[in-house]
């Protein structure tokens, strides 16, 4: 290496060393961007929960009855149970890799708020599972005999409900970090906590399919989502700190 190149390196390096600290928002943006980029590098892992959702909703016409009226009646339940399980499937990877390679440790020691960084990770989880599930749900619904008029309602309800699912899931994933094969435990922790989301989500979807107003259950669902957005990252951060001890 020539002396000139060496000096250029030193100058650029000392400029970078003097760089100001990143704000909490920037740190969260980078944590989100990192997770999204990683997810697109590992596309197989990304598609699994979505394929699972499509497959589960397709099993019902085969198992129950091909009669559209009957399928239409069970469609809300089928959609929500399938979405809940698909979201759960993707949760295992939420913090797992980060815990193994030391990323969580670096987050905890970054001087930034761990709560914020974990919230960013939960947002990434929602963008990668909740959002695609909400967009897939209408197709699954129509294959169960639901009229096209119900499509906007189904999407809205799914969008709101999956936010709550992602954040509840983040608590479960953080709590089971210390364990080796935690898949079953994660389900046992997360599913009971997700019951309110399931109840209001399925009810709102049922009303949307029936063509009546679904505002009341949707509002309750939105309240749940807001509650999860405010409190779940705090709980997840506390659980992650314990797992790092």
């Amino acid at each position: 290496m020539s002396a000139g190149a060496g000096a250029a390196i030193d100058i650029a390096l000392s400029a970078a060393q003097a760089a100001p600290g990143a704000s909490a928002l920037e740190a969260a943006r980078l944590a989100l961007a990192r997770d999204l980029r990683l997810a697109f590098r590992k596309r197989g892992q990304l598609i699994q929960p979505l394929a699972f959702f499509a497959l589960v909703t397709m099993l019902f016409p085969l198992a129950v009855s091909p009669e559209l009226a009957r399928l239409r009646a069970i469609a809300p339940g089928v959609l929500w149970v399938a979405a809940l399980l698909a979201s759960l499937l993707a949760l295992e990877f939420l913090f797992r890799d980060d815990a193994y390679d030391g990323t969580l440790e670096q987050y905890a020691l970054s001087g930034q708020s761990l709560t914020w960084l974990l919230f960013a990770k939960s947002v990434a989880h929602w963008l990668l599972t909740g959002l695609p599930l909400a967009l897939m749900a209408p197709f699954a619904a129509m294959s169960l005999g639901v009229a096209a008029a119900a499509v906007p309602g189904i999407i809205v309800v799914m969008l709101v409900g999956t936010v709550a699912l992602s954040l509840i899931g983040a608590i479960g994933a953080a709590l089971t970090l210390g364990m080796k094969r935690s898949g079953a435990l994660l389900a046992l922790l997360t599913l009971p906590l997700s019951l309110p989301v399931l109840i209001y989500g399925a009810r709102a979807t049922q009303l949307a399919i029936g063509g009546s107003s679904f505002i009341a259950p949707l509002e309750l669902l939105a309240a749940l989502a807001v509650l999860c957005v405010t409190l779940a990252p705090l709980a997840a951060a506390a659980a992650v700190r314990i797992s790092l001890e």
Partner: protein, 254 residues
Amino acid sequence: MPVRFRPQADQGHQLRVTNLRKAAPQGAEQDCGYGANPMNLRDSRAVPANHLEAENLQLWRGDHHVLKGVGFTLSRGECLQVTGSNGAGKTTLLRTLCGLMVPEEGRVLWEGRDVRTDLPAFHSALMYLGHEAPLKADLTARENLYYWIGVRRRTPGSGLDAALARVGADACRERLVRTLSAGQKRRVALAGLALMFCPLWLLDEPTTNLDAEGQQLVGALMAEQLARGGAIVVATHQQLPAAVRAARRLEMAA
């Protein structure tokens, strides 16, 4: 619960050699290169001379008494080498110092204040490098640095390239980390260290997997950190690189 007690005279963990340290370079008090840091050291009147201090740290892991009254003080520009056999608690000590583990007794002081009173401020003044490099296998070396360091500092892209060039990892800049050798990964981790000149470094076995040239590189980086008035706690059972020979030592007994 294990019975907790105060050891009366457990000297095994106390500092053995304390006076190997070099005199701090002239003017180090005024100009130690951390002007942009919120925990800056410029105001020498306000800052006590010992900037990291551990007082009687006691830590249990189940029935195992790992830290038995560890205590030391470390001033700026000093390097403390923690030695001891495998399982003696070197990593545990580092993780306790940086606040990941909470000791049953004792406390860690930074600039004279208990670090537990303001952990985020303490964390933004320190860099901890464990023996696993915190790198993502599916990102390139440069992307890894971008996200890892970017969470803490607004690092320009030219800085990332310069850091990778500095540690001799120029060639693997755009390669996925999963395709790198263990030594190359270590070098990428060191690039992160080169970018983070914060007042305190906690290094766990920084020379693992490195060739002779790489070990010299670690020495050079550490010497730079000390010359700037930064402090280092390094856990290693190997010899420190020649550039930082003047280290103080803390020996842990298993």
